[in-house]
């Protein structure tokens, strides 16, 4: 196990390093640099050069990359070009805000989707199963921002039940009750999106397991249905679901940009869009890196979870996780 972990960690660092090179190269290959975006068109070419030099933008890309990497190793994410604010000051609050929103939506959708999927697997084509299919179609088909606007119109404008947007009411920062009220609408929107796929996966995975010989054996032994489902089937059925969740992590972290926009949630997705327009290289690099770290760690955790839910998976000397 330890040897496996060490090797995976080493691989992860390598992957992150490669990602950073790739994104750095791509960001710099895009036409139009930060100076075009934030220097006035009226600025004389000489003054523009002075500014570019002050910011280190006139150096070769490779040199800029080495400097950036050097700072990163010491934990320094750099500064924004246009107003020289430490990237961490801008980035970490948005990472936290996105985690709050996405974590809530994710947890909520799993809490609904897994039990619902299990129930549907035991009573296929019943009313509940049909409803879930219907909800899935809606969830897949409806653009999230549009659903968000509908919810805002009804719950916030027509009836003054819930706040329209933002994370807190002005002046109530840090108030949990206020945060909860602000979470309801965006979490509902995101949950509908997740629910669609997770219920389907849970049901399909359960159905596959329920058809296995060992389930029939368990039933033949005369075990109660509840014990068969939860003890024998569920643990096995969870494995593919964990895989899906691991793969979904980047969507969780980055994919909320539209929902964040509609609900004016001060998260990472919004920040990324703003910073890409402004060509703030150091912020873009840091966001990419944060997302990459989350994905790499998430996959690692998923692999470790396999071992916990599925005793057949042995991590270690025999070539890593069984997939």
């Amino acid at each position: 196990m330890t040897e496996y972990l060490v090797r995976r960690l080493f691989q992860s660092v390598l992957v992150l390093f490669l990602i950073s090179i790739l994104t750095f190269a791509m960001i710099h290959a895009a036409p139009g640099g930060p100076t075009q975006v934030f220097l006035a068109p009226g600025l004389s070419p000489e003054a523009a050069k002075v500014q570019a030099h002050n910011l280190g933008l006139d150096r070769p890309v490779l040199v800029q990359y080495s400097i950036w990497l050097g700072h990163l190793v010491t934990g320094d994410l750099g500064y924004t070009f246009k107003n020289h604010i430490p990237v961490g000051d801008i980035l970490w609050p948005t990472v936290k805000n996105t985690m709050v929103l996405m974590g809530a939506a994710w947890l909520f959708s799993l809490l609904i989707a897994i039990p619902w999927g299990i129930y549907n697997s035991t009573s296929q084509y019943g009313f509940s199963d049909q409803t879930s299919s219907f909800v899935s179609y809606i969830g897949f088909a409806m653009p999230t921002f549009w659903f968000g606007i509908i919810l805002q119109e009804y719950f916030s404008l027509k009836h003054d039940w819930l706040p329209l947007s933002d994370m807190y009411t002005m002046g109530k920062e840090g108030n949990m009750g206020d945060l909860f009220m602000h979470l309801i609408l965006p979490v509902s929107v995101l949950t509908l999106g997740f629910l669609a796929s997770y219920t389907k996966y849970a049901k399909a995975s359960m159905l596959e397991v329920l058809g296995q010989d060992y389930i029939r054996t368990a039933r033949a032994k005369g075990l109660r249905e509840g014990r068969v489902i939860f003890r024998h089937a569920l643990r096995n059925a969870l494995i593919p679901i964990i895989t899906i969740l691991g793969l979904d992590l980047p969507i969780l972290v980055g994919g909320a940009a539209l929902t964040e926009r509609v609900f004016n949630w001060p998260g990472m997705g919004r920040l990324f869009v703003d910073m890409a327009v402004a060509r703030e290289y150091s912020v873009l690099m840091s966001i990419t890196l944060v997302v990459s770290v989350i994905v790499v760690v998430g996959n690692l955790v998923a692999d470790i979870l396999y071992a916990i839910v599925d005793p057949r998976v042995q991590l270690g000397s025999k070539g890593g996780a069984a997939r």
Binding site: A40, G42, V50, S165, R261, V262, V273
Partner: protein, 600 residues
């Protein structure tokens, strides 16, 4: 993702294309042209009031003190200490006036700083009770020396006096290329700045340069805070970014900035002016999505938006408490032709014939664009001077009414003959060109489509092409490498001088004449306009320019436009003399010091 970038980049255009140009916004003609909007009445009254606004303001303050004692509040009397919440679409960068280059930062900077001089509703340089200067500048007989006298009561919000040292420090820093200030070009005519005494400063110019007066319409930075910062490091200084280090001189102070979320301003306890602000707190809330911002207006989360999309106007109009201010702002849109042959696939610019350019102007249905795309928030332009301003040539500029038949005959006179495919050709070159605009700007997308259709009707093939804003500026606009563009100028400086975009002295990369247009007669007129400080003599020059440029057409001037400003007038109030003035840069905050709000 890329689609979302474009949506946002369209928003940033308004802020970023703001190149210092000219044009003075007289309110009279501007707002009266927009009938059916709420705030367009009583222009002449306002104009006369604003010249002696100091008396008006004192009167207002007196009212408010009496109201505080009375038991039943008079609904027309200002409420002290209320909160104004404003919605905006992008975050600030820095409120250091030396580096302001976007409207969001400019909004905040305008509220937290006093300026040396202000402008009145007609964009004349003015001394207001909240201006730092004590009287209008004295201009020497040769027009080269401006003497500025300061009030001796002005203080920074840390209690330090504001004096001539601050004026010298600010202007000398902006002039220093090492500082990298975006406004540097406005100051390159200054020869020397001298401190006569603590409250008198003398500016000596290298030559007579009439637009200089508006260089005095400017905020100052505190020398006592920044004088020891190396000038190359100034743009990285916390001044303008960290509220605790941003010492300012205006009625409000910068008290909190939550990045990406909101900016809070509070009354400056050390404010020195005789007229004090009524609003105790101003909050700028940032909305990533304009639809959400409009909903927040309807719900009452915010009381004002400086600009909403025209597409949201119906939703806003349906709400009784919201009123819309529709007068177009100090900006105009145009189609620019390129005269340089190498910018075309077959190495010949099709725009060289004057009749050809005039034909294009006749072929475009500009009024249709104003009615259908701008939904009435625009006004036709025939010259680079804002309609109603003192430089506006009026009828002397040629107005090209929509007339496709006239366009066809002019094209025929200029030697264009229809080919087999119906597209005109001359000397073996088809009349086909690419019209560039920034992708994601829905107004330009729609207008480009109309241009394509209008010109197709007279036998010209147009291919509209949307390009990412930053890429476009970098690869096409700055180097002057494009066939034709659809873009706009923001006239943030009220002076009509526009030499740097029309004169052949200003070809790229040194200037902004990216279409490589050259007309010696007009070149000479721009210079002439700078060489006299007499406004009526200058007006004659600009009328002449308007006449010649509208005949020769380096651009087709399309329309002056604006975005609707929306105000919740059930909670935000002002006297008529203090209402917003759309024709000025930052005019939506005009006289905000006299506004009041019922919200706490």
């Amino acid at each position: 993702m890329s689609k979302r970038f474009r949506v946002l980049s369209c928003l940033s255009v308004i802020a970023l294309v703001g190149v210092i140009l000219s044009g003075c916004g007289g309110s009279d003609n501007n707002s009266s042209s927009n009938n059916g909007t709420s705030n367009s009445s009583a222009n002449s009254n306002t104009t006369s009031n604003s010249s002696n606004s100091s008396t008006t303001n004192t009167a207002t303050t007196d009212d408010s003190t009496t109201t505080n004692d009375t038991a039943t509040p008079d609904p027309n009397a200002p409420v002290e200490g209320g909160t104004l919440t404003v919605g905006t679409f992008s975050d600030i960068v820095s409120v250091n006036p030396i580096y302001i280059n976007d409207t969001s930062s400019g909004d905040i900077e305008n509220l937290i700083n006093a300026r040396l001089y202000d402008v009145d509703r007609n964009a004349n340089l003015a001394v207001e009770p909240w201006s730092i200067a004590a009287e209008l500048p004295q201009i020497s007989a040769d027009g080269k020396t401006y003497t500025v006298k300061l009030k001796n009561t002005v203080k920074w919000n840390d209690g330090q006096p504001l004096n001539a040292d601050d004026v010298l420090f600010t202007y000398n820093t902006v002039r220093n290329p090492d500082a990298g200030a975006p406004g540097i070009s406005a100051f390159d005519k200054i020869d020397s700045i001298t401190k006569i005494d603590d409250y008198t400063v003398e500016f000596k110019l290298k030559q007579v340069y009439a637009p200089f007066q508006y260089s005095l319409y400017s905020s100052l930075v505190p020398a006592h805070v920044l004088k020891d910062v190396p000038v190359k490091e100034l743009s990285k200084n916390a001044y303008g970014v960290d509220p605790t280090k941003t010492v300012t001189s205006g009625p409000w102070k910068f008290s909190e900035w939550k990045q990406g979320q909101y900016i809070t301003l509070e009354t400056n306890p050390n404010y020195w002016g005789d007229v004090k602000p009524h609003l105790g707190k101003i909050i700028y809330k940032i909305y990533a999505d304009q639809n959400t911002e409009v909903q927040a207006l309807i719900k009452g989360d915010i009381q004002m938006s400086e600009a909403i999309p025209v597409t949201s106007m119906d939703a806003v109009k349906a709400n009784d408490k919201l009123s819309t201010i529709l007068a177009p702002g100090p900006q105009y849109e145009y189609v620019q032709f390129n005269f340089k042959d190498e910018n075309f696939p077959d190495k010949v610019s099709p725009f060289k014939g004057q009749k050809t350019r005039q034909a294009i102007a006749y072929a475009l249905n500009r009024q249709g664009m104003v009615d259908n795309v701008l939904k009435g928030t625009g006004k036709l332009m025939n010259s680079p001077f804002l309609p109603g301003s003192w430089a506006d040539p009026g009828d002397q500029a040629v107005n090209y009414a929509f007339d496709p038949e006239k366009a066809k005959s002019l094209l025929a006179e200029d030697g264009w003959v229809a080919g087999k495919d119906g597209i005109l050709a001359k000397d073996g070159h088809r009349f086909s060109f690419e019209l560039q605009y920034n992708a994601g700007n829905s107004r330009r997308e729609q207008v480009a489509a109309i241009i394509q259709q209008n010109l197709k009707d007279v036998g010209i093939e147009v291919t509209p092409k949307g390009i990412d804003f930053a890429t476009w500026i970098d690869q096409n606009i700055t180097p002057g490498k494009f066939p034709a563009i659809l873009l706009s100028w923001s006239l943030s400086n009220p002076d009509p001088d526009a030499e740097s975009i029309f004169s052949s002295k200003y070809f790229p990369p040194a200037g902004q004449n990216g279409g490589w247009y050259k007309n010696e007669s007009i070149d000479a007129l721009w210079t002439k306009g700078q060489l006299t400080t007499d406004q009526s003599a200058r007006a004659d020059v600009y009328h002449q320019i308007g006449k010649e440029i509208s005949t020769d057409l380096p651009y087709v001037f399309l329309y002056q436009y604006g975005l609707p400003q929306v105000v919740d007038q059930s909670t935000l109030h002002w006297a008529d003399a203090d209402k917003p003035e759309s024709s000025l840069g930052y005019g939506y905050l005009f006289h905000a010091i006299n506004w009041w709000s019922d919200k706490k």
